[in-house]
């Protein structure tokens, strides 16, 4: 049964039109914070104020077009190399979390995390750290580009082939795992194919192997016979079948609806109809994502009250969001362990379907993990906000007045109002201005239900 709250307040024809400040709503720090929280992982106050000085369109373009400087990329490459050389997936997860927190290309990192959940591959099975790193870089390279070359690259990614047992697929015994996930989870969705399509597609991928950590086509193990997939017949190979799948009308619909649910809210009713303008545009521009993403983040629907504060923060959003907003850094080895404990371990998605997102983040076991995550992060001496201790940062960068600090934190971190009683407690703690009381105030604010939403 569809609930009224799940229906878009705007018709599809208006929902994706550009947001008009003053008409559709205010363009202020709180609204800019919403953009950066959803499009990236949050932004410090200075960056939000700069965004407010621009138009929403310019701010969205700035967010999407941001690139990492060469020096930053070089540092990240060195770190990734060291993490991979250690052979420890904890180090690799710590490296990525650091990149999520510190990267200037926030929209890109947000999409890499989205694709990591979409093309879910776990280090639980792919124990070679360098292969997981290789896949992560692949997701980054193709994050905003055309979907077809992206899926072609993923189909030949050694980590993916090992994860879905495609590397052991022989013409005598085709393994159906990859063919099934290609249609069900990556491109079309359930019900858009038959079991026969999967069997035929699996034949197309035979002979796709991994040798010395690299993709290799073994022509001796490839089934060269004729196959019929989704109504099309030919002597297809793996590349061909990817093309066939992506030519289905359901492909654009499946991905755009998933993206809209990810960026707006996960309980949208009648999402296919709502997304029709975007789906059409996506098909028209050859399945290239960047313009669609820009349109989503600059839309009236995205900036409407129906969207703001209706997504549950994932554990990565929770940790990275807090640090991003305070220009923070932390012990990311420990932090990534804690996000894993709270249900989102980087490089450790729970299964082929990735993370469930939405309300699934909150349950009795993860709730405690989320609370501990914030408390331990704030208590850790390695956690610094703009190079200072959290308490020094709040004393230096925020107002002297405790009420004003709470208001500033409201705009910066919250998409829903902080309840009066919590605000009063926080004011009292901040008023004392001791290290302990400031930390307790931050911990209090970041533990309330309103902070779990973004």
């Amino acid at each position: 049964m569809i609930r009224m709250s799940e229906l878009s307040p705007l018709p599809a024809s208006e929902a994706w039109m550009p947001f008009r400040p003053g008409i559709d709503g205010d363009w202020n720090v709180a609204q800019a914070a919403h953009l950066y929280r959803r499009g990236g992982f949050g932004a410090p106050l200075e960056q939000l104020q700069q965004a407010v000085d621009q138009s929403p369109d310019q701010a969205v373009s700035g967010l999407i077009e941001a690139v990492e400087p060469d020096t930053y990329r070089s540092t990240m490459a060195t770190l990734a190399h060291a993490a991979a050389a250690s052979g420890d997936t904890r180090s690799l997860a710590a490296w990525w979390l650091r990149r999520i927190i510190s990267s200037p290309a926030q929209a890109q990192e947000r999409l890499v995390l989205f694709w990591h959940g979409h093309f879910a591959t776990s280090a639980e099975k792919v124990t070679d750290v360098s292969l997981m790193l290789q896949q992560n870089e692949l997701l980054r390279t193709h994050a905003m580009s055309g979907f077809e070359p992206f899926v072609q690259a993923v189909s030949q990614d050694p980590a993916m082939l090992l994860w879905l047992d495609a590397a052991a697929s022989r013409k005598a015994h085709p393994n159906e795992n990859y063919a099934r996930e290609l249609m069900e989870l990556f491109c079309l969705g359930e019900g858009k194919y038959t079991e026969q399509d999967i069997r035929e597609a699996a034949r197309c991928f035979t002979g796709w192997e991994v040798r010395r950590k690299q993709f290799r086509f073994n022509r001796f193990q490839h089934d060269n016979g004729s196959k019929t997939v989704l109504g099309v017949t030919g002597e297809f190979g793996g590349e061909d079948v990817v093309q066939v799948v992506l030519q289905q009308s359901a492909a654009a619909e499946f991905l755009i609806c998933k993206l809209v649910r990810y960026y707006l809210r996960d309980d949208i009713a009648d999402v296919v109809n709502l997304c029709q303008p975007l789906i059409r545009q996506y098909r028209d521009n050859g399945l290239v994502l960047k313009p669609i993403l820009k349109q989503i983040l600059n839309s009236r629907l995205f900036h409407s009250p129906w969207c703001v504060g209706y997504r549950v923060r994932s554990p990565i959003d929770l940790a990275a969001g807090l640090l991003r907003c305070f220009a923070g850094s932390a012990n990311t080895v420990q932090l990534s362990d804690q996000t894993k404990e709270a249900g989102q371990g980087l490089f450790f998605p729970p299964g082929v379907q990735g993370w469930d997102e939405g309300r699934a983040w909150i349950n009795t076991s993860t709730l405690l993990g989320r609370s501990n995550l914030i408390a331990e992060m704030l208590a850790d001496s390695a956690t610094r906000f703009s190079g200072q201790s959290p308490a020094d940062y709040v004393r230096d960068k925020f107002s002297d007045n405790a009420e004003t600090i709470v208001r500033q934190i409201q705009d910066l971190l919250f998409s829903r109002p902080i309840p009066g009683s919590t605000a009063a407690q926080a004011v009292e703690l901040l008023h004392r201005r001791t290290d302990q009381s400031i930390r307790e105030a931050l911990q209090l604010l970041c533990s309330i239900p309103e902070f779990q939403l973004c």
């Binding site: 770190l79 190399h81 050389a85 012990n331």
Partner: protein, 702 residues
């Protein structure tokens, strides 16, 4: 008038103490000054001034409410002043003008404090230097139930040595230390020190040297685990000043209750959980009132009954070279510790596991049987040495532990072959075969079950030979372990993370028979590694037998990958080229082929064994080099684990390197000497001299 204030503190004028000096002039000959006691007439001006100040203080406090503790401090100061002036003993002396302290009082905001300083100064100036003549061993004041005694025989010399030590100077110049010294927190922490310096009119290290000039000792009593500190300063005058300074610093927040604040006419003070007293040139602190009273009794009555001086353990320990020449020495009464600490008894009863037994088994026996243990710290410009000594009676070593010390407790390790870039070395005397054969007597039932299971596997591996008798029994007890840096350029391919190479060298009793047997076993092991490696997709080991100086070698290396890894990562296993060699009658098992070859070459010119039972050594320079080899990994870890930026992580690494630069090596040795019936251990940290110092010295030499 012999004493006066150069600037009077009038009651109605606020004296400016910024440049106030309290001096004592004398136109009399120095000798006269020293011997003649003070008269009340001479002291009158000071008494008048002090009374005046007290009256002002009392008047002022009537209109300015103050915390009670502060009033008490000043009252005590006044009372002390009066007592001191009235109770001067005829034998006390007065200082010459040259020796008199010249007062320069630091600017102080509180007028109350100014008055207090004034009163303390007055008190100090009139009390004079009281040099007590007490030739007794200060340790005789501690009770005979003392379980641990740490003492500094020449504290003043030690303070001076520390203050002038090259390491301290180098540390002070170190940027990291400079950063700490320039921090506001450090400046804040210096306030009490500056205050004490101002009051005592000397730098803190001079004050510390004077305060502990004759003796400093701390003891723990086995009865109640109370801690007692005894300090004997330069003279009574100084100790009185210290007492006064301390009163000012602590303000006696928790005074002792009536009836407990005095014993035999001596005032007692509370410092935290301890009681303190100053008697002539002695300062005594104890956490136990009973122990404190006992010490005072012995001090006042020259009584030695129930004193530590009667302890045979103390006397025995002090006779040893470790103790007699030490800058800081520690005596431990092991009987008292064993009685007081059940876990200590348990720890000395049974070996926990074979590895610990192999390393420390014999020491465990000696500790179990010894009545005492001694330790001494020696500080020299080039090194810091910590030595420990335990009485050892070879006849009392039980048969199951004789493998540790060898026949007649005279087992010594062989000298180490020297190879380049040695990071760590160990030379041990351990008759592992005997230990294995006595395992039934040494270990728990569970451990023996595990050993039996291991023995079965090892017998299979060694073609049915008994591991204890026919394998370990054919190896000599002189075990040497070498850890050395590998030359990264010589490793093909160069692993991304560089590990040091390590090797074990042990004599073969019958090389002709044993080496072929061991070589075959090693070959089987390499084959096993290849089979498991193939199952997991790891590179294979390629092996060959080659001749080397004085023997032959079975060496292996991992086959280099045909294609480079996409991420450019070379796995850590390329650090290893497992090798077994027999050279000069010694078996070499090494993680690296090049280390095995170097060791075989070094064994050729091998010198005679050194007379040490155990020696361990770490060289800092090669350790630094291997850290530098792995700098990208180390800085990456810092960045991820501490959230540092690349610049900060690099700076942290360079700080670590520059701190390591201060040290040259760390050596640890154990010697069992049957003739002196002692087991001696020594830890020596050799310091690297500063480059500037070396240059200066070479300039002088030229």
């Amino acid at each position: 008038m012999r004493n006066w204030l150069r600037r009077d503190a009038a009651p109605d004028t606020e004296p400016d103490f910024h440049d106030t000096q309290l001096t004592q002039d004398s136109d009399e000959p120095a000798g006269d000054c020293i011997r003649r006691p003070w008269s009340i007439a001479e002291l009158q001006p000071a008494i008048v001034m002090a009374s005046l100040a007290a009256w002002i203080l009392e008047s002022w406090t009537a209109s300015h409410p103050m915390e009670p503790a502060f009033i008490r401090v000043e009252s005590i100061a006044l009372i002390s002043f009066r007592t001191a002036t009235q109770d001067r003993s005829p034998g006390s002396t007065r200082k010459t003008e040259q020796n008199m302290p010249r007062w320069k009082i630091a600017p102080m905001k509180s007028s109350r404090s100014r008055f207090l300083i004034l009163l303390i100064a007055l008190q100090a100036s009139v009390s004079g230097g009281v040099a007590a003549e007490d030739p007794r061993d200060p340790a005789a004041l501690f009770p005979e139930t003392t379980a641990l005694l740490a003492e500094i025989p020449k504290p003043a010399a030690l303070v001076t040595k520390l203050a002038e030590h090259p390491l301290v100077a180098q540390l002070q110049d170190h940027p990291l230390v400079q950063q700490v010294l320039n921090s506001p927190q450090y400046a804040q922490a210096q306030a009490p020190r500056l205050m004490v310096e101002a009051q005592l009119q000397m730098k803190w290290h001079e004050a510390l040297a004077a305060l502990t000039q004759q003796y400093a000792g701390v003891a723990v009593d086995s009865r109640d685990r109370s801690v007692t500190v005894i300090i004997r300063g330069r003279d009574a005058e100084l100790m009185e000043k210290v007492r006064a300074s301390f009163l000012e610093l602590t303000r006696l927040g928790n005074p002792l209750p009536e009836g407990e604040n005095e014993y035999r006419g001596v005032s007692l003070y509370r410092i935290g959980g301890a009681r303190a007293m100053v008697v002539r040139d002695w300062l005594i602190l104890s956490t136990s009132a009973e122990t404190g009273r006992g010490i005072l009794d012995r001090l006042l009555e020259a009584e030695e009954s129930a004193s530590l001086s009667l302890s045979t353990s103390l006397q025995a320990c002090r006779k040893t070279a470790v103790s007699s020449s030490a800058d800081l020495r520690v005596l431990l009464d092991l009987n008292a510790v064993k009685q007081a600490r059940p876990f200590m008894r348990a720890a000395t009863a049974q070996a926990p596991n074979p590895l610990v037994e192999l390393l420390l088994g014999g020491i465990q026996t000696v500790v179990r049987d010894a009545d005492w243990a001694g330790a001494g710290l020696n500080i020299a410009d080039e090194s810091l040495s910590l030595s420990a000594i335990l009485p050892l009676n070879p006849d009392e070593i039980p048969p199951e532990r004789r493998w540790f010390f060898g026949p007649d407790s005279a087992g010594t390790a062989a000298s180490l072959p020297q190879v380049p870039d040695m990071i760590a070395t160990a030379a041990l005397y351990r008759d592992a075969s005997q230990m294995w054969l006595y395992s039934g007597d040494l270990f728990s039932e569970r451990t023996n079950d595990q050993i039996a299971a291991a023995e079965s596997v090892l017998a299979t591996l060694f073609s049915g030979r008994d591991f204890g008798e026919e394998v370990l029994g054919l190896l000599g007890p002189e075990i040497r372990i070498v850890v050395a840096r590998q030359n990264p350029e010589a490793l093909q391919p160069r692993p991304t993370v560089l590990f040091p190479a390590f090797a074990i060298v042990v004599p073969l009793k019958d090389p002709e028979t044993m080496w072929p047997e061991l070589r075959r076993t090693f070959q089987s092991l390499l084959g096993f590694v290849n089979v498991t490696g193939a199952q997991e997709g790891r590179p294979q080991l390629d092996y060959e037998t080659v001749s080397i100086s004085g023997g032959s070698m079975l060496t292996s290396s991992f086959v280099a990958p045909a294609e480079k890894d996409a991420a450019g990562i070379v796995p850590v296993l390329y650090n290893f080229s497992p090798t077994a060699a027999s050279a000069q009658g010694e078996l070499i098992l090494s993680s690296s082929r090049s280390l095995a070859v170097m060791l075989a070459d070094a064994l050729e010119g091998h010198s005679d064994p050194e007379p040490a039972h155990t020696s361990l050594s770490v060289a800092v320079s090669p350790l630094q080099r291997i850290l530098q080899d792995n700098q990208p990994q180390i800085t990456a870890n810092s960045m991820l684990e501490k959230g540092l930026s690349q610049t900060e992580a690099d700076a942290e690494f360079h700080t670590l390197m520059s701190l390591a630069e201060l040290f040259q090596s760390v050596d640890f040795g154990i010697s069992a000497a049957a003739e002196t019936q002692a087991l001696q251990a020594r830890l020596k940290i050799a310091l690297r001299r500063a480059q500037s110092e070396q240059l200066r010295e070479s300039g002088v030499n030229r």
